[in-house]
Amino acid sequence: MDSEAFHSRVLSFASYIPQQFVPLADYAGIGELPGKLDLHRLTGLEGHRKSKPEEGSLELSVKAAEKCLERAKIPPQDIDLVVNCAMGKIAGNLEMHLSPSMASLIARRLGIENATCFDMSNACSGMLTSMMLADSMIKSGEIQNALIVSGENVTSLIDEAKSNNLWLRSQAIASLTVGDGSAAYLLGRSEEPNQVMFSEPFTLAQYTNLCIGEAAKKRAGPSMRTKASQLQQGVLDNLGVFLSRAMQDMNLNWEEIEHIYSHPTSPKSMRKGGRVAESVLGKMKNFHNESHDIGNTGSTSHCMLLEKSIQAGDLKSGESTLLISFGSGLAMLAMHIMMPEGIEEWS
């Protein structure tokens, strides 16, 4: 329950989903992978979206942010906080932005002049972690409007993975499941309480070395190495307790939640996770995992799925929606939001 001076709510959110679709067969056909591995059967993936050469993390972020501000009808000068949560901050030419914060550049591009700007790094949980901080800042009265943004230009990871002998470097195979995209959320003050709520966040650092993103060796851009099955097992081992505690923290009734979005993973793992959740808390209404044609877009994943739901006409104003986040580290947190007013007109 809210106990602060102010309340907050999600005013809008938006994702930019690049138009270019690259089919899985073009880069990870059965004959190309070790042991005739069928990545489609394993992950359910049909392909990913690829940004244009001139669209780096910055440009992708700005596109999502502009759409988000337009949807909320909030002018840039009313934004007090900009947080960028992209993991790699990779430009179209594969240079990686380091300093100062990319949030400062995003603010400049949007015409935001007086906001506090910084970058947040918490892997795939960066956006929800930033939303949690922004929510607290709004509730304390420090700020009124916060823009949380991320642009993941990560499909160079696929080329990097394929430049290795995947028989010897099987930890690179998870890199074949990524896709490009960007996301933005706008949080603002609310008259009503409990429009945004968070579970207690946790980091189970015993799993910290299971997914590593860093500079590629002997080629431009990033690389990623993942012990995917161990990481998924870490999530599954703790999922039931985590969800029970999250529902208690937020005082929510699981069966009244209209939509549940988790970090995308293979259909098999989603089914396992779904079984754990339903065995502990009961049946779910709508458990979304429509990532088959966008892939894993890192920190933007939840918002990319939300955008697809908008396009499909699945979301309505005021609907109870739960986002469950797992990020390398291993970070676990959940956010419950009420769908913003006017969402039916967004598509």
Partner: protein, 234 residues
């Protein structure tokens, strides 16, 4: 408002950033009245990591190195939450502001703020002698008390942005060449202003080393990009 209960700093040396931060963290906790398990949040502020690592957050490696509540979840178990923030050498105050709010979200505990950078690789031109600095902070108690922070984006010069770029000759990703703003002259005596080329750890090390208890202390960090943060301490 956050209060610094204890702090430690040291040159990073050859052992690397993680070992340096972990050793300092153990020392500062040992010398304070709190236990390791009282730490509920770890926030790291910095820009440069070994081999330009971006995932997972450095703070999660610190948590692992300290063995802090790295256990399976149970209905009653307590766990830490760890993440990184960055904004050039203004990162310390981003970390303080984040700590203030995270300690409301995970109440009753203490936050470990770690600051530091290390050369990403031997091939990168990196003209710094890094210092790591760790601090235990909470919302109440005795010690240096941060009351306000104010960020100024107006002087931000985009030509100063630092990137990782690929060097064909070295076959390595290295730090790009970049501009640095001209440091201001005639700085006021009423505040402590760090050097433009100090990284996050050194900024806080130098400020806390000269902190005057019982007086209002103003600390200004001017990042080499022209971004400025001004903090008031009591």
């Amino acid at each position: 408002m956050v209060v610094v209960h204890g702090w430690k700093s040291a040159p990073i040396g050859r052992s690397g950033l993680l070992k340096s931060i972990a050793a300092l963290s153990k020392k500062v906790i040992a010398e304070s009245p709190i236990n390791l398990n009282d730490i509920s949040v770890i926030i790291h502020g910095g820009v440069y990591r070994r081999n330009f690592r971006v995932e997972p957050a450095f703070a999660t490696h610190v948590q692992d190195a300290l063995g802090l509540k790295c256990t399976a979840m149970s209905p009653e178990s307590r766990h830490c939450f760890s993440f990184d923030v960055s904004d050039g050498s203004c990162s310390p105050y981003v970390a303080f502001d984040a700590a203030k709010h995270m300690l409301k979200i995970k109440p009753g505990g203490y936050c470990l703020i770690t600051l530091g950078d290390e050369r990403p690789n031997a091939q990168s031109n990196w003209p710094y002698k890094p210092i790591s600095c760790v601090m235990i902070v909470s919302l109440e108690g005795n010690g240096p008390r941060l009351t306000t922070t104010k960020y100024d984006l107006a002087g931000f010069d985009e030509s100063t942005c630092v990137n990782m770029t690929y060097n064909e000759k070295k076959s390595k990703n290295v730090i790009s060449t970049h501009n640095v703003i001209k440091p201001p002259t005639n700085l006021p005596d009423s505040m402590f202003v760090g050097e433009v080329n100090w990284l996050s750890g050194q900024q806080m090390h130098e400020f806390l080393s000269q902190f005057s208890p019982g007086a209002t202390n103003i600390h200004q960090i001017i990042d080499q990009s022209g971004k400025i943060v001004t903090a008031t301490w009591k």
